[in-house]
Symmetry: C2
Subunit: 203 residues, 2 copies
């Protein structure tokens, strides 16, 4: 800000033959153009990260949502079967990651607006606010499911909770994969927030 | 940005009797002062939120860290006892919330720098980056522990995990309280990120 002011003053003093108003505007336009090129690059990177995060979130949702396993043996009374909605945490995971995916897809137009009009701070501020909320949602879903997946793998002797992964091996594999995908989406979202903050700073 | 430019031009044209350089600087200084007053208010609010979040995180750490319960009866072979380190998730919770508390306390000087020099964007950008990472840590700890606390309260018949809160009632109460405090700290951290983003925008 101060640097720009100094530049405009120097220009208007060195070119006395001109009106003095045009160089001021010209310098401002030149500064805006330089900032706009930098910001356009950031906005394009933002769009790429956003689409990657949406893909990861979608993969996590679908992997968890379609997970079920039926064991090949059954007793007289019931058949052993595991699906994601047996555990409330996994249901929360599916709902939360579906919301994250939906938000990321819906935010793509705003990201494109930031590419077309790189200097506009409004859409960027909107994106950083919503991204912060979304990163929290994704992280809480991933963290909660990670705790349950750990329990399913290892069990807990103190609480007398047995590991269920010996029986439901395929089920455990798939839920672990979904949790990893959710963490990837969360890390990409953190980068999105950081990127938006850096873009907001360099005006 | 454009508005400031327009103001400075008008002033330098309306006061032809003066050198033309002074009003330009005066307008810039006036604009800086207005922005600085606004930013100082935001920075003070930031400091208050930060101390509240540190208190909540410290409360969560201490509550979880000091939780243990010994049941008043015992069998011939062992005594029933529950403490936070029986469950790896709760150990993660204590470590993560201790890191969050430490970061929040250490970030107070940077927040004070933002009050003293409100226009400086460097410390504010540093704070928003670290706050984003911290909010993720706090949320994942809170989410993971919430999943385990839910399981301790309700159990899960499909995985054959029994609720342990009938026996360890006091233990469950305290861990639930710690999780709630962690969520409060996470929400305050979200506000901190949003506040910093808004302050970065209004330059």
């Amino acid at each position: 800000m101060e640097k720009t002011e100094a530049t405009t003053i120097e220009i208007s003093e060195s070119s006395r033959e001109r009106k003095g108003k045009a160089p001021l505007l010209a310098a401002a336009v030149a500064h805006d153009r330089a900032a706009s090129g930098y910001k356009r690059g950031v906005a394009i990177f933002d769009l790429i990260l956003r689409i990657s995060a949406a893909t990861a979130a979608l993969a996590a949702t679908i992997t968890m949502g379609t997970t079920e396993q039926t064991l090949p043996f059954f007793t007289q009374f019931f058949q052993f079967q595991a699906s994601y909605d047996d555990l409330p945490t996994f249901t929360f995971f599916v709902i939360a990651m579906a919301i994250v995916t939906g938000y990321l897809v819906l935010s793509v137009p705003f990201s494109i607006v930031c590419i077309v009009r790189p200097v506009a701070a409004g859409p960027r501020l909107l994106l950083i606010l919503c991204d912060t909320l979304t990163v929290t949602l994704a992280t809480s879903a991933a963290g909660a499911s990670a705790a349950i997946v750990y329990l399913a793998h290892n069990g807990n002797s103190d609480a007398n909770w047995l590991a269920i992964c010996q029986q439901f091996n395929d089920f455990c594999q798939r839920t672990s994969g979904a949790v990893v995908a959710a963490f990837v989406a969360a890390v990409l979202l953190i980068f999105l927030v950081v990127l938006s903050a850096v873009a907001l700073k360099r005006r």
